[in-house]
Amino acid sequence: MSAFLTVDNLSASIRGNIRQRVLRSVSFSIDTGEVLGLVGESGAGKSMIGKAILGILPSAVEVVEGEIQLDGHNLMAMKQADRRRLIGATAALIPQDPLTALNPSRRIEPQITNRLVDILGWSKRDARLRALELLDEVHIDNPERVMGSYPHELSGGMRQRVLIASAFAANPKLVVADEPTTALDVTVQKQILRLIRELQTRHETAMVFVTHDLGVVSKVCQRLSVLYGGMVVESSDVPAFFGGPGHAYSRALLAATPKYTDPEASLLPVDEAVIAQVSGEVLAADEGWRHGA
């Protein structure tokens, strides 16, 4: 069976300056029901990949090479309108910051149902029933009340639940989760991660999980790709990776990750030599790319 999502040799550059790449020949694939973690520090390009898949790259960035295959369709070969229709019906985003992702001046109900009504052509009544069902599914005790609330009346964890409900509303086959728990405190984070895992498993959703936290990756992902400078440094199965990463940069990232159980082997700064090595690899990749292009 071919993969549900394939990203093949994807490069994106600053618009008008093809040589300044923000994504450097990125390749990976995800099967139905599989979760892939994209890990890296800020500026590594991990969110950019999620945006490229969903066709919501910032206007200053354009894809200059490579292909994205979603459910058997080559996104790059499609007309803009067709592509948007396909992505809208197939994929959804769980954003990082639940406060900025929700419209502060509207109640929750239309923010979940609008997409179902406007894009998928559901009746308002069906959309409302589906929204109530979803809020129940994300373990919100009083869905009726939450539907009538404004975002500021809900806690951070509740808001994130609403966004997860909204992401899963149209039964997406692919969900891009962009640091969905970074803004939450640890106990709420645990509940939300469990919830995402539960929904993802039940609906057999393919998922791209963007995060800087290797601890989180070890809990929700089956595979991961480590990014540096918009380049995939290492791709691995999760159990193998946490048994011992292959690349020096991945090892450094793992050693920098906090582990309260093992204070001696955690929170270690990334060695300059490792940064030099991985930066060198990025430069070498660019050299090769220019000669090939």
């Binding site: 520090e41 800020s42 009346e153 951070g156 939450l184 405190d185 640890v186 106990t187 709420v188 984070q189 645990k190 991660l193 469990r194 800087h212 936290d213 290797l214 601890g215 989180v216 990756v217 070890s218 809990k219 999760v238 159990p239 946490f242 450094a252 990232l253 793992l254 920098a256 990750t257 906090p258 582990k259 309260y260 159980t261 204070p263 955690s266 929170l267 270690l268 700064p269 990334v270």
Partner: protein, 269 residues
């Protein structure tokens, strides 16, 4: 009774803040009790960790210690002096001696001023001499090149910005520093750097530090004693080693279990 080497001595501290969400259209907002009788000694030269979930009152406690908030009950003694209800004028000389480092360096550093001016401003305000030398010295201490004086905050990385925040605080030679979630917004690699800088400074300058965090891993790395707060009350207060070896309160264990360790086989997940 305050101990001999106690810098802060807090007893029965209560803070209540108006609940604006429940405020009627006319009249006062009802008060919510945030801190419910906190007792606390901070010994000179020690590093205190304050942990808790959101809404536990950890930031409120920090702000009350610095008297950015006025307590509604109890007393706070700083270096033997009762500062619980001192007014702004009386507090000013004490303010130099207690400094704060903020969570988000982007919003706590003026984007229109250069790093040198950002660090120099509080020095000028407190009428220090030899400002330039003190700014250089502060930058040296946090491991930033002196040339950074002419840079703007947006030209720095997140970790570097946070080190500017630290430099600004230590330039005043304070006795006490409150660090409120100062590494939560940073990448793991910058986190490690900032924590190293802070750890070294505490030892070099003999600082007393209160470090607020929701992350027990970071606390374990840095702190001598840990206070776990839950809904405005102390759930547990112990030496760091003891707390991690044998957490007494159910809430502490819940917090520990909730931390995702980089291990796919972690229990209770």
């Amino acid at each position: 009774m305050a101990l001999e080497d106690s810098l802060f001595s807090v007893s029965g501290l209560e803070v209540a803040l108006p609940d604006m969400a429940a405020k009627p259209v006319f009249g006062r907002a009802p008060l919510i009790q945030i801190l419910k009788g906190i007792n606390l000694e901070i010994t000179r030269g020690s590093v205190l960790g304050i942990v808790g979930g959101s809404g536990s009152g950890k930031s409120t406690l920090g702000r009350a210690l610095l008297r950015l908030l006025e307590p509604t009950g109890g007393t706070i003694r700083f270096d033997g002096q009762d500062i619980t209800h001192l007014n702004e004028d009386a507090l000013r000389p004490i303010r130099r001696r207690m400094q704060m480092i903020f969570q988000d360096p982007m919003s706590s550093l003026n984007p229109r001023r250069r790093v040198g001016a950002i660090i120099a401003d509080p020095l000028l305000m407190h009428e220090f001499d030899a400002i330039d030398a003190r700014v250089d010295d502060a930058l040296d201490h946090v491991g930033l090149p002196r040339g950074f004086k002419s840079r703007y905050p947006h030209e720095l990385s997140g970790g570097q910005r946070q080190r500017v925040g630290i430099a600004r605080a230590i330039a005043l030679k304070p006795e006490f520093i409150l660090a409120d979630e100062i590494v939560s917004g940073l990448d793991v690699s910058s986190q490690a750097q900032v924590l190293n800088v802070l750890d070294n400074l505490v030892k070099e300058l003999g600082l007393t530090l209160a470090f607020i965090s929701h992350d027990l891993s970071v606390i374990r790395r840095l702190c001598d004693r840990v206070m776990v707060l839950n809904r405005g009350e102390i759930a547990e207060f112990a030496n760091t080693d003891r707390l991690f070896a044998a957490p007494q309160s159910a809430y502490t264990r819940e917090l520990m279990d909730a931390i995702p360790l980089p291990d796919p086989n972690q229990a209770n997940w």
